[in-house]
Symmetry: C2
Protein backbone atom coordinates (compact mmCIF):
# COMPACT_ATOMS: atom_id res chain seq x y z
CA UNK A 1 0.00 0.00 0.00
CA UNK A 2 1.25 3.49 -0.86
CA UNK A 3 0.77 6.50 1.38
CA UNK A 4 1.37 9.81 -0.28
CA UNK A 5 3.03 12.96 1.05
CA UNK A 6 3.52 11.80 4.61
CA UNK A 7 6.01 14.19 6.22
CA UNK A 8 9.22 12.68 7.58
CA UNK A 9 8.45 14.05 11.04
CA UNK A 10 5.12 12.16 11.03
CA UNK A 11 6.91 8.88 10.29
CA UNK A 12 9.17 9.54 13.27
CA UNK A 13 6.13 10.12 15.46
CA UNK A 14 4.60 6.81 14.28
CA UNK A 15 7.60 5.07 15.85
CA UNK A 16 6.90 6.89 19.11
CA UNK A 17 3.20 5.94 19.00
CA UNK A 18 4.11 2.30 18.35
CA UNK A 19 6.43 2.30 21.39
CA UNK A 20 3.75 3.90 23.55
CA UNK A 21 1.15 1.39 22.34
CA UNK A 22 3.50 -1.54 23.08
CA UNK A 23 3.88 -0.17 26.62
CA UNK A 24 0.09 0.08 26.99
CA UNK A 25 -0.38 -3.41 25.55
CA UNK A 26 2.11 -4.83 28.05
CA UNK A 27 0.15 -3.17 30.83
CA UNK A 28 -3.03 -4.91 29.61
CA UNK A 29 -4.79 -1.85 28.19
CA UNK A 30 -7.35 -2.59 25.44
CA UNK A 31 -8.35 0.86 24.17
CA UNK A 32 -6.80 4.31 24.25
CA UNK A 33 -8.01 7.79 23.26
CA UNK A 34 -5.91 10.18 21.14
CA UNK A 35 -5.70 12.39 24.26
CA UNK A 36 -4.16 9.61 26.37
CA UNK A 37 -1.91 8.43 23.57
CA UNK A 38 -0.74 12.02 23.07
CA UNK A 39 -0.15 12.51 26.79
CA UNK A 40 1.90 9.32 27.05
CA UNK A 41 3.86 10.10 23.90
CA UNK A 42 4.25 13.80 24.80
CA UNK A 43 2.62 14.89 21.52
CA UNK A 44 -0.56 17.05 21.24
CA UNK A 45 -3.69 14.94 20.61
CA UNK A 46 -4.59 17.04 17.53
CA UNK A 47 -1.23 16.02 16.06
CA UNK A 48 -1.86 12.36 16.96
CA UNK A 49 -5.18 12.39 15.08
CA UNK A 50 -3.65 14.22 12.12
CA UNK A 51 -0.70 11.79 11.89
CA UNK A 52 -2.89 8.70 12.06
CA UNK A 53 -5.28 10.12 9.45
CA UNK A 54 -2.52 9.89 6.82
CA UNK A 55 -2.84 6.14 6.96
CA UNK A 56 -6.60 5.70 7.02
CA UNK A 57 -9.43 5.53 9.49
CA UNK A 58 -8.54 4.19 12.91
CA UNK A 59 -10.59 4.10 16.06
CA UNK A 60 -14.25 4.72 16.83
CA UNK A 61 -15.64 8.07 17.94
CA UNK A 62 -16.14 8.02 21.70
CA UNK A 63 -14.39 4.67 22.15
CA UNK A 64 -10.86 5.49 21.03
CA UNK A 65 -8.41 3.16 19.37
CA UNK A 66 -7.90 -0.54 19.93
CA UNK A 67 -4.37 -0.64 21.41
CA UNK A 68 -3.50 -3.99 19.88
CA UNK A 69 -5.00 -3.29 16.46
CA UNK A 70 -3.45 0.18 16.11
CA UNK A 71 -0.04 -1.08 17.26
CA UNK A 72 -0.18 -3.95 14.75
CA UNK A 73 -1.14 -1.56 11.97
CA UNK A 74 1.59 0.99 12.80
CA UNK A 75 4.23 -1.73 13.00
CA UNK A 76 3.12 -2.96 9.58
CA UNK A 77 3.33 0.58 8.15
CA UNK A 78 6.81 1.02 9.64
CA UNK A 79 7.99 -2.34 8.31
CA UNK A 80 8.45 -3.72 11.82
CA UNK A 81 6.28 -6.78 11.18
CA UNK A 82 9.24 -8.45 9.46
CA UNK A 83 12.97 -8.69 10.06
CA UNK A 84 15.73 -6.81 8.21
CA UNK A 85 19.30 -7.90 7.66
CA UNK A 86 21.75 -5.11 8.37
CA UNK A 87 25.46 -4.62 7.53
CA UNK A 88 27.59 -2.54 9.88
CA UNK A 89 30.74 -0.89 8.54
CA UNK A 90 33.20 0.35 11.18
CA UNK A 91 34.33 -1.90 14.02
CA UNK A 92 35.50 0.88 16.36
CA UNK A 93 33.93 2.01 19.64
CA UNK A 94 30.77 3.33 18.03
CA UNK A 95 30.40 0.25 15.82
CA UNK A 96 30.76 -1.99 18.85
CA UNK A 97 28.16 0.01 20.78
CA UNK A 98 25.71 -0.19 17.87
CA UNK A 99 26.39 -3.90 17.45
CA UNK A 100 25.50 -4.44 21.13
CA UNK A 101 22.50 -2.08 21.14
CA UNK A 102 19.53 -4.23 22.19
CA UNK A 103 16.93 -1.87 20.69
CA UNK A 104 17.80 -2.84 17.11
CA UNK A 105 17.15 -6.55 17.46
CA UNK A 106 13.97 -5.91 19.44
CA UNK A 107 12.52 -4.06 16.43
CA UNK A 108 13.62 -6.68 13.91
CA UNK A 109 16.93 -5.18 12.77
CA UNK A 110 19.63 -7.85 12.75
CA UNK A 111 23.26 -6.93 12.21
CA UNK A 112 24.37 -10.02 10.26
CA UNK A 113 27.74 -8.71 9.00
CA UNK A 114 30.43 -6.35 10.31
CA UNK A 115 33.13 -4.82 8.10
CA UNK A 116 36.29 -2.80 8.60
CA UNK A 117 39.48 -2.10 6.66
CA UNK A 118 41.88 -2.36 9.62
CA UNK A 119 43.91 -5.61 9.34
CA UNK A 120 44.14 -5.74 13.15
CA UNK A 121 40.35 -6.08 13.34
CA UNK A 122 39.65 -8.48 10.45
CA UNK A 123 38.74 -12.01 11.61
CA UNK A 124 38.20 -10.87 15.20
CA UNK A 125 34.85 -12.19 16.46
CA UNK A 126 31.97 -10.23 17.99
CA UNK A 127 29.50 -12.66 19.59
CA UNK A 128 30.60 -15.33 17.12
CA UNK A 129 30.38 -13.03 14.08
CA UNK A 130 33.70 -12.58 12.26
CA UNK A 131 34.65 -9.04 11.25
CA UNK A 132 35.18 -9.03 7.48
CA UNK A 133 37.29 -6.89 5.18
CA UNK A 134 35.22 -4.17 3.49
CA UNK A 135 36.18 -5.56 0.07
CA UNK A 136 33.98 -8.58 0.82
CA UNK A 137 30.91 -6.40 1.32
CA UNK A 138 29.36 -6.87 -2.15
CA UNK A 139 29.40 -10.68 -2.02
CA UNK A 140 28.19 -10.86 1.60
CA UNK A 141 25.37 -8.35 0.97
CA UNK A 142 24.08 -10.64 -1.77
CA UNK A 143 24.63 -13.86 0.16
CA UNK A 144 22.89 -12.62 3.32
CA UNK A 145 20.19 -10.55 1.56
CA UNK A 146 21.20 -7.35 3.35
CA UNK A 147 19.06 -4.29 2.60
CA UNK A 148 20.19 -1.80 5.25
CA UNK A 149 23.69 -0.49 5.99
CA UNK A 150 24.98 1.33 9.06
CA UNK A 151 28.04 3.58 8.69
CA UNK A 152 30.17 4.00 11.82
CA UNK A 153 33.47 5.02 10.25
CA UNK A 154 35.36 8.35 10.49
CA UNK A 155 33.86 11.20 8.43
CA UNK A 156 36.69 11.07 5.91
CA UNK A 157 35.75 7.50 4.88
CA UNK A 158 31.95 7.79 5.02
CA UNK A 159 31.23 8.81 1.42
CA UNK A 160 33.33 6.00 -0.04
CA UNK A 161 31.73 3.39 2.22
CA UNK A 162 28.26 4.69 1.31
CA UNK A 163 28.99 4.38 -2.41
CA UNK A 164 30.28 0.83 -1.92
CA UNK A 165 27.05 0.00 -0.08
CA UNK A 166 24.80 1.46 -2.78
CA UNK A 167 26.68 -0.30 -5.57
CA UNK A 168 26.30 -3.58 -3.66
CA UNK A 169 22.52 -3.16 -3.68
CA UNK A 170 21.91 -1.82 -0.19
CA UNK A 171 18.77 0.32 -0.34
CA UNK A 172 18.97 2.35 2.88
CA UNK A 173 21.90 3.71 4.86
CA UNK A 174 21.99 4.98 8.42
CA UNK A 175 24.98 7.28 8.74
CA UNK A 176 26.59 8.05 12.11
CA UNK A 177 29.50 10.00 10.62
CA UNK A 178 28.88 13.75 11.03
CA UNK A 179 29.08 14.33 7.29
CA UNK A 180 26.51 14.74 4.54
CA UNK A 181 26.49 11.91 2.02
CA UNK A 182 25.74 12.26 -1.67
CA UNK A 183 23.95 9.15 -2.87
CA UNK A 184 22.03 7.99 -5.93
CA UNK A 185 18.26 8.55 -5.52
CA UNK A 186 17.48 4.82 -5.20
CA UNK A 187 19.56 4.71 -2.01
CA UNK A 188 17.72 6.27 0.96
CA UNK A 189 19.78 7.82 3.74
CA UNK A 190 19.24 8.68 7.37
CA UNK A 191 21.74 10.54 9.51
CA UNK A 192 22.24 10.41 13.25
CA UNK A 193 24.15 13.45 14.43
CA UNK A 194 24.59 12.84 18.13
CA UNK A 195 25.74 16.39 18.80
CA UNK A 196 22.46 17.87 17.54
CA UNK A 197 20.68 16.38 20.53
CA UNK A 198 23.09 18.10 22.91
CA UNK A 199 22.63 21.37 21.03
CA UNK A 200 18.90 21.08 21.58
CA UNK A 201 19.57 20.91 25.31
CA UNK A 202 22.08 23.76 25.36
CA UNK A 203 19.50 25.91 23.55
CA UNK A 204 17.15 25.43 26.48
CA UNK A 205 19.90 25.99 29.03
CA UNK A 206 20.85 29.22 27.26
CA UNK A 207 17.36 30.72 27.25
Amino acid sequence: MKYKKVPLTAVRRLSIYARTLSDLENRGRETVSSEELGLDANIPSTQVRKDLAYFGQFGTRGKGYSVKELNRKLREILGLDRSWNVALVGAGNLGKALFSYPGFRRQGFHIVAVFDNDPAKIDKEWKGLKIQHIKKLPEIVKEKKISIGIIAVPSSAAQEVAETMCRAGIKAILNFAPKRLFLPPECKQGTVDLAIELENLSYFLTK
Copy 2:
Protein backbone atom coordinates in the same frame (compact mmCIF):
# COMPACT_ATOMS: atom_id res chain seq x y z
CA MET B 1 17.25 37.13 25.27
CA LYS B 2 14.02 35.13 25.31
CA TYR B 3 12.39 33.66 22.23
CA LYS B 4 8.82 32.53 22.71
CA LYS B 5 7.00 29.53 21.32
CA VAL B 6 9.77 28.23 19.11
CA PRO B 7 8.86 24.65 18.17
CA LEU B 8 11.34 21.94 19.14
CA THR B 9 11.65 20.90 15.50
CA ALA B 10 12.73 24.44 14.58
CA VAL B 11 15.52 24.34 17.17
CA ARG B 12 16.72 21.10 15.62
CA ARG B 13 16.75 22.74 12.19
CA LEU B 14 18.80 25.66 13.55
CA SER B 15 21.55 23.13 14.32
CA ILE B 16 21.38 21.92 10.74
CA TYR B 17 21.53 25.49 9.37
CA ALA B 18 24.53 26.25 11.61
CA ARG B 19 26.36 23.16 10.26
CA THR B 20 25.54 24.13 6.68
CA LEU B 21 26.72 27.70 7.29
CA SER B 22 29.99 26.47 8.83
CA ASP B 23 30.53 24.38 5.69
CA LEU B 24 29.86 27.42 3.48
CA GLU B 25 32.13 29.58 5.65
CA ASN B 26 34.96 27.05 5.31
CA ARG B 27 34.48 27.16 1.55
CA GLY B 28 34.89 30.94 1.62
CA ARG B 29 31.30 31.89 0.86
CA GLU B 30 30.22 35.33 2.11
CA THR B 31 26.47 35.44 1.44
CA VAL B 32 23.77 32.83 0.94
CA SER B 33 20.09 32.97 -0.04
CA SER B 34 17.38 31.07 1.83
CA GLU B 35 16.95 28.98 -1.35
CA GLU B 36 20.61 27.89 -1.36
CA LEU B 37 20.69 27.36 2.40
CA GLY B 38 17.54 25.24 2.13
CA LEU B 39 18.96 23.25 -0.77
CA ASP B 40 22.20 22.54 1.10
CA ALA B 41 20.36 21.67 4.32
CA ASN B 42 17.65 19.69 2.49
CA ILE B 43 14.88 21.88 3.96
CA PRO B 44 12.35 23.95 1.92
CA SER B 45 13.36 27.63 1.67
CA THR B 46 9.95 28.74 2.99
CA GLN B 47 10.70 26.75 6.12
CA VAL B 48 14.19 28.29 6.36
CA ARG B 49 12.73 31.80 6.29
CA LYS B 50 10.01 30.89 8.79
CA ASP B 51 12.49 29.31 11.22
CA LEU B 52 14.89 32.23 11.11
CA ALA B 53 12.04 34.72 11.57
CA TYR B 54 11.45 33.35 15.11
CA PHE B 55 14.72 34.92 16.13
CA GLY B 56 14.51 38.29 14.45
CA GLN B 57 15.34 39.90 11.16
CA PHE B 58 18.28 38.43 9.29
CA GLY B 59 19.50 39.10 5.81
CA THR B 60 18.69 41.72 3.23
CA ARG B 61 16.08 41.32 0.50
CA GLY B 62 17.81 40.48 -2.74
CA LYS B 63 21.22 39.99 -1.10
CA GLY B 64 20.56 37.06 1.19
CA TYR B 65 22.21 36.37 4.51
CA SER B 66 25.77 37.06 5.58
CA VAL B 67 27.14 33.53 6.10
CA LYS B 68 29.47 34.52 8.93
CA GLU B 69 27.01 36.77 10.72
CA LEU B 70 24.08 34.31 10.54
CA ASN B 71 26.28 31.42 11.68
CA ARG B 72 27.57 33.46 14.63
CA LYS B 73 24.02 34.43 15.59
CA LEU B 74 22.66 30.87 15.33
CA ARG B 75 25.55 29.50 17.38
CA GLU B 76 24.83 32.11 20.03
CA ILE B 77 21.12 31.17 20.07
CA LEU B 78 22.02 27.48 20.37
CA GLY B 79 24.47 28.13 23.19
CA LEU B 80 27.41 27.00 21.05
CA ASP B 81 29.40 30.19 21.62
CA ARG B 82 30.53 28.86 25.01
CA SER B 83 31.64 25.50 26.37
CA TRP B 84 29.61 23.11 28.51
CA ASN B 85 30.88 20.61 31.04
CA VAL B 86 29.20 17.23 30.67
CA ALA B 87 29.00 14.16 32.94
CA LEU B 88 28.66 10.73 31.34
CA VAL B 89 27.12 7.89 33.35
CA GLY B 90 27.69 4.39 31.98
CA ALA B 91 31.17 3.20 31.01
CA GLY B 92 30.05 0.37 28.71
CA ASN B 93 30.38 0.16 24.93
CA LEU B 94 27.95 2.98 24.26
CA GLY B 95 29.51 5.19 26.95
CA LYS B 96 32.93 4.60 25.46
CA ALA B 97 31.69 5.45 21.96
CA LEU B 98 30.07 8.68 23.21
CA PHE B 99 33.21 9.57 25.16
CA SER B 100 35.26 9.22 21.97
CA TYR B 101 32.73 10.96 19.69
CA PRO B 102 34.59 13.93 18.16
CA GLY B 103 31.40 15.85 17.31
CA PHE B 104 30.69 16.73 20.95
CA ARG B 105 33.97 18.50 21.65
CA ARG B 106 33.82 20.29 18.31
CA GLN B 107 30.55 21.96 19.40
CA GLY B 108 31.83 22.86 22.88
CA PHE B 109 30.53 19.86 24.85
CA HIS B 110 33.29 18.49 27.10
CA ILE B 111 32.85 15.21 28.93
CA VAL B 112 34.77 16.05 32.11
CA ALA B 113 33.61 13.14 34.29
CA VAL B 114 32.64 9.49 33.69
CA PHE B 115 30.72 7.41 36.23
CA ASP B 116 29.72 3.76 36.62
CA ASN B 117 28.72 1.47 39.48
CA ASP B 118 30.73 -1.56 38.35
CA PRO B 119 33.74 -2.04 40.69
CA ALA B 120 35.69 -3.56 37.78
CA LYS B 121 35.46 -0.25 35.91
CA ILE B 122 36.06 2.26 38.73
CA ASP B 123 39.52 3.90 38.60
CA LYS B 124 40.15 2.68 35.03
CA GLU B 125 41.31 5.57 32.89
CA TRP B 126 39.89 6.82 29.60
CA LYS B 127 42.33 9.27 27.97
CA GLY B 128 43.64 10.14 31.41
CA LEU B 129 40.19 10.60 32.96
CA LYS B 130 39.49 8.21 35.86
CA ILE B 131 36.11 6.48 35.89
CA GLN B 132 34.41 7.37 39.19
CA HIS B 133 31.81 5.59 41.29
CA ILE B 134 28.33 7.00 40.71
CA LYS B 135 28.05 7.91 44.41
CA LYS B 136 30.66 10.60 43.81
CA LEU B 137 28.50 12.29 41.17
CA PRO B 138 27.01 15.04 43.41
CA GLU B 139 30.37 16.31 44.64
CA ILE B 140 32.04 16.15 41.21
CA VAL B 141 29.10 17.91 39.50
CA LYS B 142 29.57 20.84 41.90
CA GLU B 143 33.36 20.80 41.73
CA LYS B 144 33.48 20.75 37.92
CA LYS B 145 30.42 22.96 37.33
CA ILE B 146 28.68 20.30 35.24
CA SER B 147 25.31 21.32 33.76
CA ILE B 148 24.59 18.50 31.28
CA GLY B 149 24.40 14.74 31.90
CA ILE B 150 24.49 11.88 29.41
CA ILE B 151 22.88 8.57 30.37
CA ALA B 152 24.35 5.46 28.72
CA VAL B 153 23.26 2.81 31.23
CA PRO B 154 20.81 -0.11 30.77
CA SER B 155 17.12 0.87 30.74
CA SER B 156 16.52 -0.61 34.18
CA ALA B 157 18.95 1.85 35.80
CA ALA B 158 18.14 4.97 33.74
CA GLN B 159 15.44 6.51 35.95
CA GLU B 160 17.53 6.24 39.13
CA VAL B 161 20.59 7.75 37.43
CA ALA B 162 18.47 10.60 36.06
CA GLU B 163 17.10 11.41 39.50
CA THR B 164 20.61 11.40 40.97
CA MET B 165 21.68 13.84 38.24
CA CYS B 166 18.75 16.21 38.82
CA ARG B 167 19.27 16.21 42.59
CA ALA B 168 22.94 17.04 42.02
CA GLY B 169 21.94 20.16 40.08
CA ILE B 170 22.33 18.95 36.51
CA LYS B 171 19.89 20.95 34.37
CA ALA B 172 19.70 18.92 31.18
CA ILE B 173 19.94 15.19 30.50
CA LEU B 174 20.54 13.38 27.23
CA ASN B 175 19.19 9.86 27.59
CA PHE B 176 20.37 6.99 25.39
CA ALA B 177 18.47 4.30 27.30
CA PRO B 178 15.31 3.34 25.37
CA LYS B 179 13.06 4.29 28.28
CA ARG B 180 10.99 7.35 29.12
CA LEU B 181 12.25 9.28 32.14
CA PHE B 182 10.08 11.11 34.64
CA LEU B 183 11.92 14.21 35.83
CA PRO B 184 11.16 17.37 37.78
CA PRO B 185 10.23 20.27 35.46
CA GLU B 186 13.49 22.17 36.13
CA CYS B 187 15.42 19.28 34.57
CA LYS B 188 15.18 19.25 30.76
CA GLN B 189 15.50 15.92 28.95
CA GLY B 190 16.36 14.78 25.46
CA THR B 191 16.19 11.18 24.29
CA VAL B 192 18.14 9.47 21.56
CA ASP B 193 16.40 6.30 20.44
CA LEU B 194 18.79 4.85 17.89
CA ALA B 195 16.23 2.32 16.64
CA ILE B 196 13.80 5.07 15.57
CA GLU B 197 16.23 6.10 12.84
CA LEU B 198 16.28 2.57 11.45
CA GLU B 199 12.48 2.44 11.59
CA ASN B 200 12.37 5.58 9.49
CA LEU B 201 14.42 3.78 6.85
CA SER B 202 12.41 0.57 6.99
CA TYR B 203 9.25 2.66 6.47
CA PHE B 204 10.68 3.85 3.16
CA LEU B 205 11.86 0.37 2.20
CA THR B 206 8.38 -0.99 2.92
CA LYS B 207 6.48 1.50 0.78
